[in-house]
Amino acid sequence: MSEAVRSTRSAAASSHVEAAASYRQTGRTASGRRIQLEARGLKKSYFKAGHEIPVLRGVNLTVQQGEFLAVIGQSGSGKSTLLHLLATLDGADAGEVWLDGMRIDNLPRRRRDALRNRKLGMIFQFYHLLPELTALENVLAPLMIAHGLWSWLRHRRSHVQNARRLLEQVGLGQRWQHLPRELSGGEMQRTAIARALAPGPAVLLADEPTGNLDQHTGAEIMQLLRSLNRQHGLTIVMVTHDLANAQQAHRVVRLVEGRIESA
């Protein structure tokens, strides 16, 4: 079960070599672990009807390699915005995002796309599976995006094997040819997790992963995340408004009025 993740992680690790030179500068934490993801003074405001509504007012956040960090905050406190900024889906008004010792928020669009594709896995409250694709195809989607038609056809077999193993790992070994609408909420979220893991990402960014699930299923998902973190050293940043879930993480920070407070 762990083999797949390990192999993808080793692939991901090799691509980190380029960043190796710079992560010395970013330093290490007291625990001696490498800082994997860092937000420096992130600011973001939205404009609505001509009024500036500040959401993030200078967020500083450091995530160590292998850490499971939970960010809690009320609805509208900017949790999702922070996650989007970390994933470079959106641009910050000010501040920087660093991944593995490399500033990523000011990269050209295509490099950010590639980075998101390979190093940043995302899961969402509403799963966000592609409804036309089966569970397996959804898991394969990031790989398909990474590869052109020919290289895809060349490596198709190994990709499919990999994806099947990931689905097994999240407990959906038998459901791989089902469409999302044929799956339950928990199963959809598991598929989404498998998809996020498929390219072997450095960081998993989870946006309210249990927000749409009943308590029991939510607990199962949390357990899955924790086991991924524990067994494979996957770095996870999870935002949630559920304190009970958040407390299963190594560290919990609170987002209040656009700033991070330790909880």
Binding site: L89, D113, R116, N117, H128, E132, M144, W152
Partner: protein
């Protein structure tokens, strides 16, 4: 890679998009059918025209014609001998055709174009022969009346022609029967002036049904008993008509049962009319007609002579079938005084020139034009003569194509609208793909490729539909005709027995490519919009 997979899935799951390309399908199918029919029509018409008209014609501006056609031919042979296969002289002159129809001896007169053709010339246009009604005449034409055996079924109509039962009796059989009837009528004493005229006073329907023939006149007289003017008029009119034949009678007794006048081939439209889809004949081969035409010389006088119909000419071009009458060239020259008494050299009004295959028409025409003074002669190709007709067909095709392509363009806007809707519907998926690292180009590719795929499906289906329709166009027309009770394609009107259709592959290719292009173009704007969607907003989209 994901582009193609998603396109494929969208194609299979979004039937509304398929609905939007139905108009592309129909547009493509219609264009293919219309182009095929128009091309077939144009080709058929060109063939007909070309068969009737020779490649190049040298004509005199005057009805007098020009002297010594052999000299002209030699001149042309010297100038363009390499291009010319053969030349035939002919006389064209406007004439009046008169014949008597019905037991009452009604005279019918029609304007015709009289053509004197050289039946001695062995190569006398094969194209002319193929339109005749007697199989023997089609092989070896002569101006002698045949015993019988004229086609009852139109030989050009494959198996679809309606029979012409009256043609069964045509030929000497008909001539003898008519002569007998007329003699009997003369002996009966009521109609002696008419009968002695030995002119085609007859009722061909009566010829099939002999009983009705003889009493038809008394019947008529009784029916119109109140109309005293008519019986009173008849003898005088008959006497007038009989007059020109007096000389025939004085010299020698002409026996219509065994003799014929000079032969004549007549456009079938002059001798028949269509009634409820079948041809009814006013005249048949074996009947006599009179022709009145101007003599050469100034001022022209009218001369006339009696001819015996030996065959009908049916080119299916009603313009020709209802106006052309062919007689032997020598006889026409004699009658018109177109032969110099001292030398025996004739005059003709035109020389028909047939070119060797593959020669440039206009080039030869220009070469020949240089030979003769344009004040006296005109040299023209068959295209020049029927250019307006051909140009009209091409113009119609062009206009129809523009209109039909507009339909496809309208379909393009339908695709545009549907695509915008699909992009809106797929906003969240676009956000998901972007969060998974798909670039704007990739997203744009999905929709462009989708548009192309839809266009491919639409125009492909249209092509198949159009080609299938074209292949079976006659069966479809028949079925529609049976369904509606009215023939869709009435051969009576068009003179074609089948809808001519010619599939031109370059045209089909252009149509399909055009439709594909429109579908692809219509998807550009929605695809750009999809590519520019902000990922976070797209993800939040509900």
């Amino acid at each position: 890679m994901y582009k193609y997979l998603l396109c494929w899935r969208y194609l299979r799951s979004r039937y509304i998009a398929l609905a939007s390309i139905v108009s592309v399908t129909l547009g493509v199918a219609t264009m293919i059918v219309v182009n095929a029919v128009m091309a077939g029509f144009a080709r058929e018409m060109q063939q007909r025209l070309h068969n009737i008209l020779s490649d190049v014609v040298l004509e005199s501006h005057s009805l007098e014609g020009f002297r010594d056609p052999e000299w002209h031919m030699e001149l042309m042979q010297r100038a363009a001998g390499d291009d010319i296969e053969r030349m035939v002289a002919a006389v064209h002159v406007p004439a009046m055709l008169s014949f008597q129809y019905g037991g009452r001896g009604e005279w019918i007169t029609r304007p015709v174009t009289l053509i004197g053709i050289d039946d001695e010339a062995p190569e006398q246009a094969a194209e002319f022969r193929q339109y005749l009604q007697h199989p023997q005449n089609r092989k070896q034409f002569s101006f002698r009346l045949r015993d019988g055996g004229y086609d009852v079924y139109d030989h050009q109509a494959q198996d679809r022609g309606t029979p012409r039962p009256e043609m069964r009796h045509a030929g000497w059989t008909h001539r003898r029967r008519m002569a007998e009837l007329r003699r009997a009528a003369a002996q009966f004493g009521r109609q002696s002036p008419d009968a002695s005229s030995q002119q085609g006073a007859h009722d061909h329907r009566a010829a099939e049904d002999e009983q009705s023939s003889t009493p038809s006149v008394p019947d008529d007289a009784e029916l119109r008993g109140g109309d005293t003017a008519r019986p009173a008029q008849r003898p005088s009119r008959a006497a007038r008509s009989a007059d020109p034949f007096a000389r025939g009678g004085t010299e020698r007794r002409f026996d219509p049962r065994t003799e014929q006048h000079t032969g004549l081939v007549m456009g079938i439209g002059l001798a028949s009319f269509r009634l409820e889809g079948t041809d009814r004949f006013l005249l048949l081969p074996g009947d006599d007609v009179r022709l009145t035409f101007p003599t050469a010389g100034t001022p022209p006088r009218a001369v006339d002579d009696t001819f015996t119909i030996v065959d009908f000419y049916e080119s299916k071009m009603s313009e020709y079938d209802s106006s052309l009458v062919f007689v032997p060239l020598r006889r026409l020259q004699e009658l018109r005084g177109m032969i110099e008494p001292e030398t025996g050299i004739g005059y003709v009004t035109s020389i028909q020139i047939k070119l060797k295959p593959g020669r440039e028409l206009n080039q030869v025409r220009d070469k020949l034009r240089a030979l003769f003074p344009p004040q006296l002669y005109s040299v023209s190709t068959w295209r020049d003569k029927q250019g307006a007709l051909l140009a009209a067909v091409h113009m119609e095709t062009a206009i129809l194509n523009v209109l039909l392509f507009l339909i496809i363009a309208v379909a393009g806007f339908g695709i545009l609208a549907i695509f915008f809707m699909i992009v809106v519907e797929k906003t969240r998926d676009i956000g998901i793909l972007k969060s998974l690292g798909a670039g704007g180009r990739g997203i744009m590719g999905i929709f462009l490729f989708y548009g192309l795929l839809l266009g491919l499906v639409g125009s492909g289906a249209g092509m198949v539909l159009g080609l299938a329709f074209t292949q079976n166009i006659n069966a479809i027309a028949d079925a529609l005709g049976r369904l509606t009770g009215r023939p869709v394609f009435d051969p009576d009107i068009y003179y074609f027995y089948e809808i001519p259709a010619l599939i031109e592959w370059p045209t089909v290719t252009w149509i399909v490519l055009g439709a594909l292009g429109i579908a692809a173009l219509a998807s550009v704007l929605p695809a750009r919009r999809a590519a520019r969607l902000h990922p976070v907003e797209a993800l939040r989209y509900e």
